[in-house]
Every structure is written in C-alpha cells, then in structure tokens.
C-alpha cells in the first residue's frame, strides 16, 4: 500500500465570525495550517487570538448561532470535515480526532465513575461487550499513570485530584485510538509539578502511538518543550508559523519577538526591567484597517496601518505575515 502523502490535517482559509451586540466579531480570519503524522503543532496566542475557536471548528463543536463559519476547508486525510453530514461527524469525534480541555471536571460526567465513562466510549466505538471494554479501560488507566487503577476505576471524578482527572481525560481521549489529539490548554489549571507530569505523559504517549497533537496554549514555554512546529496567532490570524527552533531562535514577526523578549526567565540574572509590548490586546470588533498588530508594533509605518500583510515565506517552512519581515 502506498503511503498517504497528503498531510493528516490541512486547514485552509478558515473564517469564523460571531454575531455580538456590538456587531460582527471576526474571531478567526482566514487561517491555514497543516498537521503532519506524529507531530505536535503548537497553536499559541493570547485571549481573543482565535486559537480555541479555530480548533473547536475542526470537530464542528461551535454553536451556531452565534458562531458562523464563513469559509474554509478542514481536510482530514483529504476529506473536508466541514462538509461531513452531522451523523457521521459524531463517529469521527473520538475515533479520528479527540479533544482534551483545560478543566477536566467540566468535561467528565460527575455522576458516573471514570471507568464507566471509558467503558461506554469503547463499547460505542468498537461494539465491545462491557467485560472486554472494562479490561481495556483498566489498561488505559494504567497507561496514563493512575495509581492503583483497580481501585480508582470505580472512582467518581470529584474523588480525584486535578492532575488525576486530566490523566483520566487523556485516557478517555485516547481510548478510541484517534489520529489527532486536540489539547486546549491541557495543563493551564494544574500546578507546575503536575503540569510537568502531564506534558511528559503526552510526549510519551505520542511516541508510543504516533498520535498527532494540536496543542493550544498561551504558554510559550510549554510550546518550547513539546511542539515540533508552532503557529503564533494574533487577533484571529496566524502571524508567524515555523519549526519550533526557528520560532524561538529566529522569530521574524515583531509580535513573536516581543512575546519572547517579555517572558520572565528563572535561569537568568534578575533584570531591572523586562521588555514590554506596548498597549493591550485588541478589540476584535474594532480592528484597524491595516495590520492588527500595528498599533502596538515598534516598527509599524503608514503602510502597515493602511494595508494588511498577507503570509509570505521567508525561509524553510517559515511563514510570516508582516511587511517588515523581509527587511533585515
């Protein structure tokens, strides 16, 4: 059998807007990216950048209205998920693409034991009898590092700690052996030592199963440690995308550069002042006509304020949307 040369997931010109009392909010404004087999793509951005909205659209989990997908294609192994009939999409959820969220307490059913919830997923997707499903649930809980899985399989979500609940969520998300795991701020609600455990677990499982991960986070350090490639989002657009070493080593967009300069680093001498990005996160209902970052950009000129930059290739697998990116 010939290897499938198409990217596992290819998102093209995705535009999503919300109707809000103040008008139209262009949450995602024409983004495109690809996710290859076995890799982790980090989607990084601040609040309102569109990173979560764009990933909810992959599985058609956005409520419409108020959300409206204006254009775009989400090609999963060549098939456009935005065109798949509703009854088929629920089969794809979990089996092809599954998700984990920031707060596992709200994604797990509080009145069912964790074992029961994983059993159900397995029975539904594979048509297994309960006994067989239970056996696999136990294996999954063991795999994600739940202590005494024999006992904890009968626990209710509230009886587990936040880190344990996130492990259960990962077990549940991986139960149907998806090709893609979408992880939306999977460690943001966790303490730093627990975050380290969970990230280690995700990397380990990826190596074991070859799962592709779309990792959505505001935390550049988490990206640096887990992602292979990175897409930086700002105001609904991807402003820069490149392999992780390039993003951190030779960032070309002033926003990426500003973010990297402004994060405090514990292994450096104490600084008198951190580098700042001026201004605030923009109001998406009142975006300027030109580059959305121009009002905060130290290099912006009249051209930037007038005309929006389109993505351009500046290096190997390195795309930047900035009029100044080609200058030295």
């Amino acid at each position: 059998m010939a290897a499938d040369v198409r990217p596992l997931l290819q998102v093209e010109d995705l535009k999503i807007q919300f109707r809000v009392p103040d008008g139209i909010l262009p949450a995602v404004d024409g983004i495109g990216y690809r996710l290859d087999r076995g890799e982790t793509l980090g989607l990084v951005g601040e609040s309102g950048s569109g990173k979560s909205v764009s990933s909810l659209a992959l599985l058609r989990l956005l409520e419409s209205p108020p959300a409206e997908i204006r254009s775009g294609r989400v090609l999963f192994q060549g098939r456009d998920l935005l065109q798949v009939p509703e009854r088929e999409i629920s089969d794809l959820r979990g089996r092809s693409i599954s998700m984990i969220f920031q707060e596992p307490m709200t994604s797990l059913n509080p009145v069912m034991t964790v074992g029961f919830q994983i059993d159900e997923a397995l029975m539904r997707h594979f048509g297994w009898p309960r006994r067989e499903a239970r056996q696999r649930s136990l294996e999954l809980l063991t795999l994600v590092g739940i202590p005494s899985p024999q006992r904890n399989i009968d626990s209710y979500p509230h009886e587990l700690s936040g880190g344990m609940r996130q492990r259960v969520m990962i077990a549940l998300a991986l139960s149907c052996e998806p090709k893609i795991l979408v992880a939306d701020e999977p460690t943001t609600a966790l303490d730093v030592t627990i975050q380290a455990q969970i990230l280690e677990l995700m990397v380990g499982l990826q190596e074991k199963f070859g799962t592709s991960i779309l990792l959505i986070t505001h935390d550049l350090a988490v990206i640096a440690e887990t992602a292979h490639r990175v897409a930086v989002m700002y105001a609904g657009r991807i402003v820069e995308a490149a392999p992780v070493a390039t993003i951190f080593g030779e960032p070309r967009h002033p926003y990426t550069q500003g973010l990297l300069n402004s994060i405090p680093r514990i292994h450096r001498e104490r600084l008198d002042a951190l580098a700042e990005i001026a201004g605030g996160v923009p109001d998406l209902t009142r975006l300027p006509p030109g580059c959305a970052f121009a009002p905060r950009c130290p290099r912006a000129d009249a051209h930037c304020r007038r005309e929006r930059p389109e993505p351009m290739t500046v290096g190997s697998d390195h795309v930047v949307s900035c009029w100044k990116a080609s200058d030295a």
């Binding site: 303490d191 030592t193 975050q195 380290a196 550049l220 405090p264 680093r265 514990i266 951190l274």
Partner: protein
C-alpha cells in the same frame, strides 16, 4: 541588622472542617502551620508554592482578614496579632492588597474616580478638588491618563484594570503591599508591563512587597527574597539568586526543574515528583514532603525538620542539610 517591617512568628491558621447536618467539627485544615517570615523595609518577598500550600491564607492572615490560630504578627515593631478592628483601622492605611482578578475586584457600578477617591474619603484625607487632584496623580503614577476617572471599570482592558487596582492600593501611601497573584490573570504580553510597573513604583515610593504566586517565573525578576511553601510551612527561604541558582530543598529543586523554559532543545534533567500534594487535613508526619521526596531517609518520616541556616539569609528545613 535592619529592622523587619513585618514579621510572623510561628504563625498558624487552621480552619475547622465540618460535616453532617449539625456541622460537627470533624477535623481541621492546617492551612498555615507554623510560619516564620521576616520582610525588611523596602524589600520584595516572593511567597511561592502550589495550590493548597497556604500562601494565600498567610497573606490574608497578615492583613488580619482571617484571625490567626496561633503565633504572632509584628508590624513596625508592634505585635498586632490580637489587635481589634478599631486598633487595626489606622494600620489598614499602611497595609494594602492587590488581587489576582482585576475583573471582580473593582465595583462595576462606580466610576474609576469614585473607586480611587473612596480611600481618601473613608480616611478623611482629602475631599473636593484636592481629592480629584490626588486621584489624577495616582492614575498618572500607574501609567493611565487622568481622564480615566470618568469611566467605568468595564471600559478598561485587564491590564488597565490591574493598574487601577494598584492605584487604589497606593492611595493612602502604604508601606506594605501584598500582591496575591497580581499578574496571573493577565495575558502574557501584559504581564511584563505590570511586573515593570510594580518594580518602578516600589523604587519610587520605597514600598515593601509580599508577592504571592504559584509561578516561579513571574516573581523571578521582582523578588529580593523568596520563600517556598509546602503544605502550610516554609521549606526554604533565600535571597533571589541563591534560591534560583542554588536551591537546597528537594521540593524547591523539583519545583524549579518543573518550570518549563521558553528555549526548545534546552531540556533539563527534570525531577518528576510522584503523586499529588497530600491533604492539609492530615499532613504526613515527620517532614511533610517525605512521601514524595526522592531523597527521603528513614528518619524523615518521623522527625520534623526545622528551618536552619545554610548560607547568608538562606534557611532550609531538610534533614539532608543538617547532620
């Protein structure tokens, strides 16, 4: 030796744990369980630890928003532990707090001018046009335009709201400011602005800070001294560089090694802790960290380590470092 502006001695804050229809006391949460802290005037102390370590409770206890169970709180050389609300009133001007969430800590129905003017009125410091002048000065101090006083909190971004929260804390020329996760709710690009603001006003006004945070990175460039807490106790305290570059306690080491670095390829040797933080209702005996400690020795389970010096202003509560 320089005088400590604030000191706690053996401070304990326990909460009763109730259950059943008659709310019987079935146990107690050892939220803060014997903490000695010394904050010198003009210094910034960072109080760091994970959820449930008691860092927020300490902040509230120091401000006497919660009554301590045991121990003492000294402020400017006075024992304020048993001060009544009336005795505390003049001290409240000198001790202020900044909260994590700039969205819920400002009254949405009041204009910024009224929010910032309130402290002057309550304490009878200024009224009328003098009050307006003072409010305008406060706004400029935190990097906002005086026109902001005519607007409502919802008209501002998160970062600007945190500036307003800081301005309110500064209104009555405090000596001590307690910041409880002051930048944690802010976007990454805004955090550096607020950290720099905190540093600048500290230098300009000679403030003393206690900055409470779960994030070792965000306090790394504002703190002079760092105290690491675990399950209600301080396990290590040291000057900034000694803590970040020469940590002695295995918990501090694990905490530092768990902090992800924004540098791909620079994978450090990570100390992964086993399991979760135990419950503060029944903390483990001996050293509270021993069940998760890779270097635990048999007597760690039975003997409680106390804070002992290992260097200049560097104290560690660990049997490894005291023979």
């Amino acid at each position: 030796m320089p005088e400590a502006l604030l000191e706690t001695r053996g401070l304990k804050t326990h909460f009763a744990l109730r259950a059943g229809i008659f709310s019987h006391v079935v146990g107690k949460v050892h939220a803060v369980d014997g903490v000695d802290l010394k904050v010198r005037a003009g210094e910034a102390l960072a109080l760091v630890g994970e959820s449930g370590c008691g860092k927020t409770t300490i902040g509230k206890t120091i401000l006497k928003l919660i009554e301590p169970t045991e121990g003492q709180i000294w402020f400017e050389g006075e024992d304020i532990t048993r001060y009544s609300a009336r005795q505390m009133a003049p001290l409240r001007r000198k001790m202020q707090i900044i909260f994590q969430d700039p969205f819920s800590s400002l009254n949405p129905r009041l204009r910024v001018g009224d929010i910032l003017g309130a402290p002057f009125e309550i304490h009878g410091v200024a009224a009328g046009s003098e009050k307006t002048d003072r409010v305008a000065r406060l706004l400029r101090l935190v990097g906002l335009m005086p026109e902001a006083m005519r607007r409502y909190p919802h008209e501002f971004s998160g970062g600007q709201r945190q500036r307003i929260g800081i301005a309110r804390a500064l209104a009555l020329d405090p000596k001590l400011i307690i910041g409880d996760e002051p930048v944690s709710a802010l976007d990454v690009s805004i955090q550096a602005q607020i950290i720099n603001l905190l540093k600048r006003i500290q230098a300009e006004l000679g403030l003393t800070y206690i900055l409470i945070s779960h994030n070792l990175s965000v306090v790394s460039h504002v703190s002079d001294v760092v105290a690491v807490m675990y399950l209600g106790q301080v396990v290590e305290t040291a000057p900034r560089d000694a803590l970040y570059f020469d940590a002695k306690h295995p918990y501090t080491e694990a905490l530092l090694s768990a902090v992800p670095l924004p540098e791909p390829g620079r994978r450090r040797k990570r100390i992964l802790l086993k399991g979760d933080v135990p419950s503060p209702v029944r903390p483990p005996g001996g050293c509270r960290f021993h069940p998760r400690c890779a270097k635990a020795m048999p007597h760690c389970a039975t003997q409680v380590p106390t804070l002992k010096p290992v260097g200049e202003r560097h104290l560690v509560a660990c049997h490894l470092h005291h023979g």
